[in-house]
Symmetry: C2
Subunit: 326 residues, 2 copies
């Protein structure tokens, strides 16, 4: 039985708590929080403890899910806990991955632990799709589309617009662009040609919808490079129709082989997810299992999805895998 | 530079010869054949040698592609060459994989080599898609569809029917079945509901088309469980319109998460290939690179795609991978 803990009780923390039932080889033994544990409403009966007590669980926890934000939490937390436990995080600030890797690697080696960073579906499964496809088709092009799904960052950006009470933003891949890629056309696609953005906005009383729409669609970085649609709805409608957190996307590599590159090939990996955080957590749990097994196999240090042999992910005997999954 | 050799000059052997240009870290140094080397028309300038001379190349070849048939060639050849070289094969007789693995593992360990078996796209990339998806969604269902593509086995079966001069058979996945799986319906699908079979047949002079069609569509194992369409065409039409070897397929896993399994997720991996053998070879070449690197890392024995960390596949520095592909 793999004993796991959680630091931070947000979407990922809740996801682990819910998904543990699908992984009978794992047991959730403690949730650690920076908040007052008494104020935390969890779904199960797992003890909730202050983060300061985590150090007392060394030897009693096989892996810690470090479930903080990439901006400020994980750069500090993941190295800290990697000294004590095998850990896994979802660090997704792409530009800072090399630095984060170096810091976590040093800490994990000091602790004699395995630390997996930047796990989930992107980075994570989409990265793997890109890696395998690039290795197979050296002569080709990569395309990634996201959605249809809720972008938390874009929803937050809309909420900061004056006159907006609440908002939900969907990133939507353009069907025609996907169709062209899937057909092996190797199109050059601009930002605008790949995705559209659809916003559901609740106005504050007295706000001017024309002004709010203008402020959203012209917002640099977030919306100005896209075709953006804004719908004004009531808070009741937002809560009723847009409370889910779906997401997904497509990773393509198209390439050629043959003496004259005459043969086209299309590799496609796609996800359609009702719950982004629960799926992300599902990926984390498989790689958490891998971390514990790699530690048992004598490995230490920081790892990414690229470093992990697939056999470590599944709770199945290797002979069974070859007989039934190969 | 990775020096590779080929035993057997069929589709795979020709594929390696063509694809080597996409892999500048590899060099094809020798082709070994059981035929008279003088009779072999190759595409390039690589020396063609009798198989008996392979043993003289130990130390001069980093990896040997063992490119024979699964029925009788590979069970004998792969262990034989694994004693001398790192090797890779496409063994695809599913029921015999455990036995083949054991034999090759013993030989590879004797030789101190890495041997990768059952590589390609199915088994191979489709196996990996199943493995990752099963690890992520323990509560779910697997679906595999093949095609649209040429089935060599079914084409051969038609050619054995009395009155048939030549034939080409396409396996075609049923669109509606794929749509239902993609929608997360978790349908139970019979053999007939998943694939149809389309046959292009050239009759011998005087053959009775009604009888030939009857003999094809009622053939046990190959056609009787499918909706099969038979088209009679001329040899010229067959050669002109059906000389390609396209293939592909879809691997799905659909599953649920959530306290009450209320959230559905769909993972899809698909391939659309103009040339089945050239794509298969492309996969082999990436895993051939991995075999050589694993040997350099001190590993020995028989491996499958499940045992191989993705980082070994790509000719790229690990820091670059994390910076650009993660």
């Amino acid at each position: 039985m793999i004993k796991v803990g959680i630091v931070g009780y947000g979407n990922i923390g809740r996801g682990v708590e819910v998904n543990i039932q699908e992984n009978p080889d794992m047991e959730l033994v403690a949730i650690f929080t920076r908040r007052d544990p008494a104020t935390l409403k969890t779904k199960g009966t797992c003890p909730v403890l202050p983060v300061e007590e985590a150090k007392d669980w060394v030897g009693k926890i096989d892996l810690m899910f470090v479930a903080g934000g990439s901006a400020t939490d994980l750069p500090e937390q993941t190295p800290k806990y990697a000294k004590m436990f095998n850990v896994i995080d979802t660090f997704d600030t792409h530009a800072n991955i090399p630095e984060h890797f170096a810091n976590v690697d040093k800490a994990a080696k000091e602790g004699g632990n395995i630390a997996i960073i930047s796990c989930g579906w992107d980075p994570g499964m989409f990265s793997l799709a890109r890696m395998y496809a690039n290795a197979i088709l050296p002569n080709g092009n990569d395309y990634t589309f996201w959605g249809k799904g809720v972008s938390q960052g874009h929803s937050d950006a809309i909420r900061r617009v004056e006159g907006v009470a609440d908002a939900r933003q969907y990133t939507i891949p353009v069907d025609d662009a996907i169709a062209r890629v899937r057909a092996g056309e190797n199109p050059e696609l601009t930002t605008r040609q790949k995705h559209t953005r659809e916003c559901f906005v609740v106005l504050k009383e007295g706000a001017d919808p024309k002004q709010v729409e203008h402020d959203i669609v012209t917002m640099p970085n977030y919306f100005s490079d896209y075709d953006t649609t804004v719908h004004f709805i009531s808070q009741e409608e937002l809560d009723r129709d847009h409370s889910g957190i779906p997401h997904g996307g497509f990773v393509f590599r198209t390439g050629t082989t043959g003496a004259d590159h005459e043969n086209k090939h299309v590799i496609e990996y796609s996800l359609k997810l009702d719950s982004n955080p629960e799926f992300t957590t599902s990926v984390l749990m498989a790689f958490a299992r891998a971390a514990v097994r790699m530690k048992e196999a004598g490995e230490v240090g920081c790892k990414t999805v690229f470093d992990i042999a697939p056999k470590y992910l599944l709770a199945m005997d290797e002979g069974e895998m070859r007989a039934h999954l190969l």
